[in-house]
Subunit: 373 residues, 2 copies
C-alpha cells in the first residue's frame, strides 16, 4: 500500500534539477514544491479555501506545537489533522526536533531523547524518537519526519555527537512506525562539515526511507556553505527518492535548491513577512508600510495573478497596515505564498521546457536588482 | 438619473413588515437587509470575496474614520470606496455624526457644526453638514447620510436642542449635495420622547429624501422604549420610502424592527462578537472559548450553511482561539455575518410567503430559550 502511495516519479531532469510527481493519499504532488507552514494547524490568517485557490498542494504542521496544544489525542479524536483543519491536500509534519532544540536552556538531551519545558506553561515533557513517531501517527499527516538532533551548524564536536544520535534515532523511528498510509522521511545532519554531511547522507540513505530531508541548514551558516552542502549530498542520496530541504524559503534559495536537485521546501517566511508588512516579489521585497506607497494605485506586483494583486492597490494595503486591520496580514500572506507556489510551478515548467538555466538566470538577475521597492 | 437608481419598490407587505427592492448603482438590494460594518474600508478580518460568498448586498463604512485615515481625498484619488476596497456591491457611509458625538469631552458643538479632536493624533477638525456631505461625496458610497446630532437619548433638554440642529443641518445637507449618483438619507432624532420623535419624523419626512433613518436608538434606552419609538414613527414616515434603523444588530432587534416596517439595519455586532470569541446563532449566543467545546466535533450551528459551519468544528475554532490564531476571527465573523444575512433573507421570504408571524414567533422562542450554548 505504501509503495503505491508514496511512489516518486521523475518526469524530467535538467542537470541536477528534477521535475517529478510524488503520490500521496491526499493527491499527487507536482515537484519541485513549496510547502507553506501551518504551525498550529492553520496557515496564519489564510483559510484552507484561499490556500486551495492559491494552488497549494501540501502544507506543513508542527508536531511540537500541536503536541502541546491542542494535543495529539484531540487531533486524532477529531479525525486527524486533515479533517481537524479542513485541508484536503497533503500534509507533512516535522518531528518536533527543531523546535525542542531551539528551546535552548529549556531542554536537556540524552541518548534516549530530549526533555524540555513547554514555552506555554513551563510543564515538563520528553520527546523520544518513538514518541515523535507516535505523535505524528496520531496527527495523521501524509509525510512524517524522523526525530533528529539539530545542533548549531558550525560547532564540530556538537555536530559529531548529534550525528550519532540522529542516526540511532532514525533507526528507532523506522522501527516505531506502524501506519502504512504515512511516509517517514529520514533527515541528514552534519552542520557545515562536508565529511559529516557525507557520512550522514550515506548512513541515512542506507536505511529504507521513501524520502530524505536535509536538516540543520538556513540556521546561521553562510549562503555559500549551504550551497556547498547541497552540492555535496546530492552524490550520496538515491536519485529515485524525493529530497526535502527544511526551513528554506527565499526565492533565491528555492532556485538554488532546485538547481541542486531539491524537490521539496518549507518555510514560515511568506506568512511571517506578511505579518511584518513585507511583500515578496520576484523583483525584490517591498515594505508596504513605506509612505511612498500611500498613493500608489498599482498592486504589489502588476505581473502577479494572485487574489490580492488582482484586486487591491498598494495604497489600500498600506491603509490596512496603518489602520492595523487584520485583512492586511491575510492579503499579503496570500500574495507571498502565491509568489513562491507560482515560482515553483514556473521552475518545474522550465525543467520540462529545457530552459531552466535561462529562466533562472533571468530571475536571479531580477532578484539581485530589485526594481519593485 | 437618481430616481431610476434609488427607486424603492415594496413587493409585499404583511402588517407593517415589508419585502422590497432598493435600486442602487451597485445592484438591486433585496430588503429587509442587514449591512455589515466596514469601519475603516474593510469588514474586519473578512475579504470582499468572502463577503460576496456570504451574500452581503450592501455594507457600511465610517466617514469619521476614513476622513482621518487614509483621508477622503486619497479614497477619491483611488477611484472611490468601491474601487479602493474592491467591493462590487452597494455601500452606505454614515455622516460621522455618531462618531464625533461619541468623543465626549473631545468635541464641541455649535449651530454651525462640531469641532473635535482626532482619537488618533489629537489634531483638531470641524465637521459641518456641508463638509460631511462633501467628504461622503468624495468617498463615493451609493447611500450617504445627513449630518445629525446624537445626544444621550434620555435627556429631554439636550434632545430638544439637538432636534432643532438636526433639522437645520438636514436642510443644509440637502443643499450641499451635488452628486446625482448618490442617495442622501435623512435622519430622525428625538431620543425616547414620543412628541419629539413625532415632530422629527414629520419634519424630516417633509424634506424630499429618498430614504429615512431612525438614529439615536440602541444607545442605552430600554428595549421597550426602542420598540415604542419604532411603533410611533411608522405613522409619520412615507410608506413608499426605505427606512433604516441605525446601529441595531441582534437577531431579536432585527425581527422586531422588520415587524415594525424597518427595511435596513447595520451593526458592528457580528464582527465584534467574533473578535471576542462569541458566535451568534438563532438558538442563542455561544462563547467558543469555553472548555466544553474542546472535544466538540460539531460546527457552531448544524443547520447553518456558511463556510465556517460547513467545514470546521467547534473543537477546531476553540483551538484557534486558545492558540491566538487570526483565523478564529475570520471564521467566526463569516459565520456571524452569514447568520444575520440569512435571517434577513428568511424574514423576507416569510413576508412573501405570508407567514411572517408564525416564523418569527418560532424564531423568538428559540432565541429566548437557547439550546446551543
Amino acid at each position: 500500500m505504501q509503495k503505491a502511495y508514496f511512489q516518486f516519479q521523475t518526469i524530467s531532469r535538467l542537470g541536477k534539477a528534477r521535475a517529478g510527481v510524488l503520490k500521496t493519499p491526499h493527491g499527487d504532488i507536482k515537484t519541485p514544491v513549496f510547502m507553506p507552514v501551518g504551525t498550529q494547524a492553520t496557515v496564519k490568517a489564510v483559510t484552507p479555501a484561499q490556500m486551495e485557490e492559491i494552488g497549494v498542494q501540501i502544507l506543513l504542521a508542527n508536531t511540537y506545537h500541536l503536541f502541546l496544544r491542542p494535543g495529539a489525542d484531540l487531533v486524532a479524536e477529531m479525525g486527524g489533522l486533515h479533517q481537524f483543519m479542513n485541508w484536503k491536500g497533503a500534509i507533512l509534519t516535522d518531528s518536533g526536533g527543531f523546535q525542542v532544540f531551539s528551546l535552548g536552556d529549556l531542554r536537556k538531551i540524552t541518548d534516549d531523547g530530549v526533555t524540555f519545558k513547554s514555552h506555554l506553561d513551563g510543564s515538563i515533557h520528553q520527546f523520544t524518537p518513538e514518541l515523535a513517531v507516535q505523535i505524528q501517527e496520531k496527527l495523521g499527516a501524509d509525510i512524517i519526519m524522523a526525530f533528529d538532533e539539530c545542533p548549531e551548524p558550525t560547532n564540530r564536536k556538537n555536530n559529531e555527537k548529534a550525528l550519532e544520535r540522529t542516526h540511532q534515532w532514525a533507526e528507532r523511528c523506522l522501527k516505531a512506525k506502524t501506519r502504512s498510509d504515512q511516509a517517514l522521511f529520514g533527515i541528514i545532519q552534519g552542520g557545515i562539515f562536508p565529511d559529516l554531511r557525507q557520512k550522514s547522507a550515506e548512513f541515512i540513505s542506507s536505511l529504507d526511507f521513501p524520502g530524505y530531508a536535509i536538516g540543520g541548514l538556513s540556521v546561521g551558516e553562510s549562503k555559500t556553505q549551504m550551497l556547498q552542502i547541497l552540492d555535496l549530498v546530492d552524490d550520496f542520496l538515491p536519485k529515485e527518492k524525493p529530497r526535502y530541504l527544511m526551513g528554506v524559503g527565499t526565492p533565491e534559495d528555492l532556485i538554488e535548491g532546485v538547481r541542486r536537485g531539491i524537490d521539496m521546501f518549507d518555510c514560515v517566511l511568506p506568512t511571517r513577512l506578511a505579518r511584518h508588512q513585507a511583500a515578496q516579489t520576484l523583483h525584490g521585497r517591498i515594505n508596504l508600510m513605506n509612505a511612498e506607497h500611500a498613493h500608489n494605485p498599482n498592486p504589489i506586483d502588476t505581473e502577479c495573478q494572485c487574489y490580492t494583486c488582482s484586486h487591491f492597490s498598494r495604497a489600500y494595503l498600506r491603509h490596512l497596515i496603518m489602520a492595523k486591520e487584520m485583512l492586511a496580514a491575510t492579503l499579503i500572506s496570500i500574495h507571498n505564498i502565491f509568489t513562491l507556489v507560482e515560482l515553483m510551478r514556473c521552475l518545474r515548467q522550465s525543467i520540462l521546457n529545457n530552459n531552466f538555466e535561462e529562466y533562472t538566470t533571468h530571475l536571479l538577475n531580477n532578484l539581485k536588482n530589485p526594481t519593485n521597492q
